[in-house]
Structure formats: structure tokens, C-alpha cells
């Protein structure tokens, strides 16, 4: 068996604040194989976004954060890397797509400038012309026809869908091994969201990129992911192949999530009784598709 692109083991996270220590992640484990699309599903505040930021190494720089457990990227322990090495991974070996494409692009710089900076991560000496050429090529891959106009524009001059494609193009520009997609396109129109997701799926398949897909939207997850982890209050409560989880949810939280599926655009947390003792139920693992 090949080395997983991402292997998280018993990850814990806590913050030290004025009111004392608050633990946010209570020891989660998950893995993403090369080229595999894995979804991490949970409501907001469940800990899915911080997990992504730990993988990117962003939280490690926060002085109030206390991180335990281990994160292995392509077999290398992130904690064992120094700051510079960890930094070197970002934007090259792994990249990220955000929820709201328009506000994730800097409003005062042209797309071209920002693209140039992205490409410079892989090739620090890349000239502006070369960068533009490369950017245009990648934009074409995400079905952007007039790449020149888009590159020359500021984010606020483009539609949300177009910005989302720009984001996807940027994310894949440096051929990363891992792409983290944090609620991609939630801020967009449903149809546009669906289109861009499809586009993204096509691209990651072509590029054989592993994806950690973070979402609260099961409908989208079902379309996109090979495997699903359900996270709830800092714990993984259920995991397994997408089909298995969807067809036979075992954990009450997963079932509650399922009940909310029709609300495709998401935004809502399942309306269930959180005090139910069921929520403390142990991790449910689906053993389908040959995984032990």
C-alpha cells in the first residue's frame, strides 16, 4: 500500500485564552490516499476548518494554539519540519480553495498580480510574461475563455463563478499533491456551485490530485467524495466510503445530518436535540471496499 498523501493521527487542538484552556479537537484521525477525494463533514464549529488549517501549518504559528498528535504529509511528520520546510509545502505541495471566492481574492490587486505570486511559489524566478502565459493556460482548463480580460481585472469586476474558477485554477496551478477545499462555493448560487464543483472534480481527476473536501453539505459531498468522515464537536463520529455512509448512517448525528440533506444550499445545522445521549456514541466505521 502506498503512503497516504495525508495521514492525521489522534490530532488534538486547544486554545489558551483569557478564560482558560479550551479544547477544540479531541483527537481525530483521518487519511487521504493519493488521488483520493475525501470529505470531512460537520456543522460549523465542529472543528473541520481548524483541521484544514493545521494541515496547512497556519495554526502552528498562532501562539495561543496547543496542538497534539501527528500530521503526516506524504509520510513526513509536519511537526518534525521546521518553519521554513513547513512553509515550503504551502502553495506548492498543498493548496486550498475557500468558501467565498470573491472575498478570498485581494480586492486591490489585479488577478494577474495574484496569479503571478501563486506561480512564483513553484518558480521564484518566473517572469511576469511567463506567468501570464501559464495562468492563461490553466484558466483555459477551467473553461475561462477570455483569460486576458480576467487576468487584467480586479476581483470585484468578475462574477462569483468566474472568481471561483480563478481560485480553482490558482489552487491547481502548481500541481499540488493535496488540495484542501473548505466549503468551496458555499457563497455562490446553487447552479454555479454545482458547475464549478463538476469542473473541480474533472480537474483533480486529470491531475490526480488528492482532495480533502470540507463541507456541511451532504448533497455536495455525495456527488464529489470517495470517502466521508463525519466530524462532530471535535471528534470523528463516523467514517467510511461515501455510498456506505449514505446508505447506512449509523451515528445519530450522521442521521440527523442526512435529514437535512434536501436543503441543498446548506447553511443550516440539523435541527436536533443536542442533549440526546446518543451524541456521545462511539465512532462508527464502515468496513466496505476492503478497508480494515
Amino acid at each position: 500500500m502506498s503512503t497516504p498523501t495525508l495521514d492525521i493521527r489522534n490530532l488534538t487542538l486547544g486554545f489558551k485564552g483569557y478564560t482558560g484552556f479550551t479544547e477544540v479537537l479531541h483527537g481525530i484521525s483521518l487519511s487521504v490516499e493519493p488521488g483520493e477525494r475525501v470529505a470531512l463533514v460537520g456543522e460549523s464549529g465542529s472543528g473541520k476548518s481548524v483541521t484544514a488549517r493545521i494541515v496547512l501549518g497556519l495554526l502552528q504559528e498562532l501562539r495561543t494554539a496547543r496542538i497534539g498528535g501527528s500530521v503526516l504529509f506524504e509520510g513526513r511528520e509536519l511537526d518534525g519540519l521546521n518553519k521554513r520546510e513547513r512553509h515550503a509545502l504551502r502553495g506548492k505541495a498543498m493548496s486550498m480553495i475557500f468558501q467565498d471566492p470573491t472575498s478570498s481574492l485581494n480586492p486591490v490587486f489585479r488577478i494577474s498580480d495574484q496569479f503571478h505570486d501563486v506561480l512564483r511559489r513553484a518558480d521564484p524566478r518566473i517572469t511576469r510574461d511567463a506567468a501570464l502565459e501559464r495562468a492563461a493556460a490553466i484558466l483555459a482548463e477551467v473553461s475561462v475563455r477570455d483569460a486576458e480580460r480576467v487576468l487584467n481585472a480586479f476581483p470585484f469586476q468578475l462574477s462569483g463563478g468566474l472568481n471561483q474558477r480563478v481560485m480553482i485554477a490558482m489552487a491547481l496551478a502548481n500541481e499540488p499533491a493535496l488540495l484542501i477545499a473548505d466549503e468551496p462555493g458555499t457563497a455562490l448560487d446553487v447552479t454555479v456551485q454545482a458547475q464549478t464543483l463538476q469542473l473541480m472534480r474533472k480537474l483533480v481527476e486529470e491531475h490526480h490530485t488528492a482532495v480533502l473536501f470540507i463541507s456541511h453539505n451532504l448533497g455536495v459531498v455525495r456527488e464529489f467524495a470517495d470517502r466521508v468522515y463525519v466530524i462532530y464537536k471535535g471528534r470523528i463520529v463516523e467514517q467510511g466510503p461515501t455510498r456506505a455512509v449514505f446508505e447506512g448512517p449509523r451515528h445519530p448525528y450522521t442521521r440527523a445530518l442526512m435529514a437535512a440533506v434536501p436543503r441543498l444550499t446548506g447553511g443550516g445545522i440539523p435541527d436536533i436535540d443536542e442533549d440526546s445521549p446518543d451524541f456521545g456514541a462511539p465512532l462508527e466505521t464502515h468496513d466496505a471496499e476492503g478497508r480494515a
Binding site: 496547512l56 497556519l58 501562539r63 512553509h87 515550503a88 509545502l89 504551502r90 502553495g91 506548492k92 493548496s95 486550498m96 475557500f98 468558501q99 467565498d100 472575498s103 478570498s104 481574492l105 485581494n106 480586492p107 486591490v108 490587486f109 489585479r110 505570486d117 501563486v118 511559489r121 480580460r149 487584467n152 481585472a153 480586479f154 470585484f156 469586476q157 490558482m170 484542501i180
Partner: protein, 341 residues
């Protein structure tokens, strides 16, 4: 560029209205001064007849509205009248003193931007760390004392006790620089006299720094506050997740968007230096408009008061317009209010 032109036209029109308002305000203030300007001007030994003549010549016997009419007509011809104090045209006096003040204010403005902004950037980048706390403390100290206190302290430290800088004036006596622009830093270079330029620059350091200190503090505080806010924006997280260098994130991705809201205030602060220059010029014997301004106010020199305040206000408005244009240039949302074709 059409939106820019429209913006400029709009701001100029508003400024003109405001300037007319200022002229009325200051004109009214100057006319209700107790005491007879004619008598003050002619000095202690003037006869009643001479005073009556001068009053007539100054239209002082007319209704204030008529006086204002005369004044506006004169201003339209570029005539601000004759100073009752120096017996010279007010425009000539102002032309003589304004460059020195502007030079001081401009250099102070450069210091404010050149030192204040980097401090603010640095502070925001290392927010919460020791460097940040130091900068915050120092910049707050900077804004907490009037510029004359800084002038006195700087002078005492760096001109008296450690005589590193000259104590007064714009340039040493031994340099004869003919005035072309009135800006010594430019005139010396125009004459190709590098040593004189160095000497003039050496003279301007302390007064400009004393004047700039509160502006530096203000600029640093503002930049920091706005940048800290910006650091929470998704596009900064995006830049970080792509591993852009921290320095580039601070200097470009976080700084540029934060600069736009800061600029208005920085512009106002810069313009306020025109007034604060009065305090610094007094200490460093800087031959600028301020000393003239204080002198004419103390002597109730009508024409000169109105002229000086008008010119300072016009400069103030001009600075604000420039700042607005700068903001428009920096903020693509204003520059490209329409989508490009």
C-alpha cells in the same frame, strides 16, 4: 480615467464653495476685532487725519457686506491688499514665507509617511509581540505631546547637549542661495551646490521631525489598526495558505487595502501640520509663514490675517483633494467604477 476627472471636478467645486465659506468666516472674524486697524497700522504718532484717510482707503467706513464685496473683487484680481504691518503686498509677504513653511511641512509629511507607515506595518505584522507593544507605546507617546514640547526636547537633546544638529534657521550663513522656488532643498540642487543642499537638509531634520512626531505616531497607529482588521480578511488567509512570504503579505496584501481607509486621516493630519508648524517654527527660528501669521494676528493686521488664513486653508483643501485623488488611484473600486469594456 473619466471617473477620476469627474471626481476631481466635483471636489474642486466643493472646495471652492468651502473656500468662499472660509473667506466669509475669517473676514467676519477679522472685522469684529476690537481696536482700529488703521490706528494700529499707522503707529502711535499718527494724526487723526491720517487715520481717517487710511480708514477710507481700507473701506473701513463701509458696511461689512460692501467691504466683503471689495475684498472679493480684489482677491479675484489676485490682490490680497497691503499688510499694515510690513507695508508690503500680502501676496508678496506670503510668497516670501510660504515656501519655507511648505518645505518644512512637506519634509515632515514625508517623515510621517516614511516612518509612520513602516512602523504601523511592522507593528501589525508582529501584533501581540514585544515589537508591536513597543511601537504602540512609542506612537501613542508621539501623539501625546504637542509639537512644541517635542521641539523643545529634541532641541535640548540634539542641539544643546549633543550638538549634532543646528539650532536655528534653514541654512548656514556662508551659503548664498538665490531663491528660485523658495524651497531651499530644491534651489540648492538647481544651483548644483551639493554641500549647500546637505547643509539645508541638515537644518531641516530636527524641526521637521518635531513637527512629524505626532503624525508619525498617528500614521503608525492607524496603519496598525486597519491592518490588524485586514489580517482577519479571507484574502489574507488565502495568501497565507499559498505560502506567500510573510513580508510580502504584510507589505502588499495586508497593507495596500488598509492604506485606503488610513489615507483620509493621514491627509487630515498632514494638513493639520500647516497649523502645527506655527509651534515648531517659533522654537527653531524657522523663517516661515507661521511667525508672520502670529505676528499679524497679534497686530490685528486685517489684510494679512485674511490672506494668511485663506492661503493656508486653500493649501489644506488642496492637500485633501490630492489625498482623495490618491485614494481613488489606489482604490480600483473607485478608479474602475464601471467594468472594463
Amino acid at each position: 480615467m473619466i471617473p477620476l476627472a469627474r471626481l476631481l471636478a466635483k471636489r474642486l467645486a466643493t472646495s471652492l464653495i468651502v473656500l468662499i465659506g472660509v473667506s466669509m468666516l475669517i473676514f467676519a472674524i477679522a472685522r469684529i476685532i476690537p481696536g482700529d486697524p488703521a490706528r494700529i497700522a499707522l503707529g502711535p504718532n499718527a494724526t487723526a487725519e491720517q487715520i481717517a484717510d487710511l480708514r477710507a482707503a481700507l473701506h473701513l467706513n463701509d458696511h461689512i457686506v460692501v467691504q466683503y464685496g471689495h475684498f472679493v473683487a480684489d482677491v479675484a484680481r489676485g490682490d490680497l491688499g497691503v499688510s499694515l504691518y510690513t507695508n508690503r503686498p500680502v501676496t508678496a509677504d506670503i510668497a516670501l514665507y510660504l515656501p519655507a513653511t511648505l518645505e518644512l511641512v512637506l519634509v515632515a509629511g514625508l517623515m510621517m509617511v516614511g516612518i509612520g507607515l513602516p512602523l504601523g506595518i511592522w507593528s501589525a505584522r508582529w501584533r501581540g509581540r514585544a515589537a508591536d507593544n513597543m511601537i504602540r507605546l512609542v506612537s501613542l507617546l508621539g501623539v501625546s505631546a504637542p509639537s512644541f514640547v517635542w521641539a523643545v526636547i529634541l532641541m535640548l537633546l540634539f542641539a544643546f547637549y549633543l550638538p549634532l544638529f543646528p539650532i536655528a534657521g534653514r541654512i548656514s550663513d556662508s551659503y548664498a542661495i538665490s531663491s528660485v522656488t523658495g524651497f531651499l532643498l530644491i534651489d540648492t540642487l538647481l544651483q548644483g551646490d551639493v554641500r549647500a543642499f546637505g547643509n539645508a537638509a541638515w537644518h531641516i531634520v530636527l524641526p521637521a521631525f518635531a513637527l512629524a512626531l505626532s503624525g508619525i505616531g498617528q500614521a503608525a497607529r492607524l496603519t496598525r489598526a486597519n491592518m490588524v482588521e485586514t489580517y482577519d480578511k479571507p484574502y489574507i488567509e488565502m495568501a497565507q495558505s499559498y505560502g506567500f512570504p510573510a513580508r510580502r503579505i504584510a507589505n502588499h496584501y495586508a497593507f495596500r487595502p488598509s492604506l485606503i481607509p488610513s489615507l483620509t486621516i493621514i491627509g487630515l493630519d498632514f494638513a493639520a501640520m500647516l497649523g502645527n508648524a506655527f509651534l515648531v517654527e517659533a522654537i527653531f527660528a524657522w523663517p516661515g509663514l507661521s511667525r508672520y501669521g502670529v505676528a499679524v494676528i497679534l497686530r490685528k493686521d486685517l489684510n494679512a490675517i485674511v490672506g494668511t488664513v485663506l492661503i493656508i486653508s486653500a493649501t489644506f483643501l488642496l492637500v485633501n483633494i490630492i489625498v482623495d485623488l490618491l485614494i481613488a488611484l489606489l482604490n480600483p473600486r473607485i478608479r474602475y467604477s464601471q467594468r472594463p469594456a
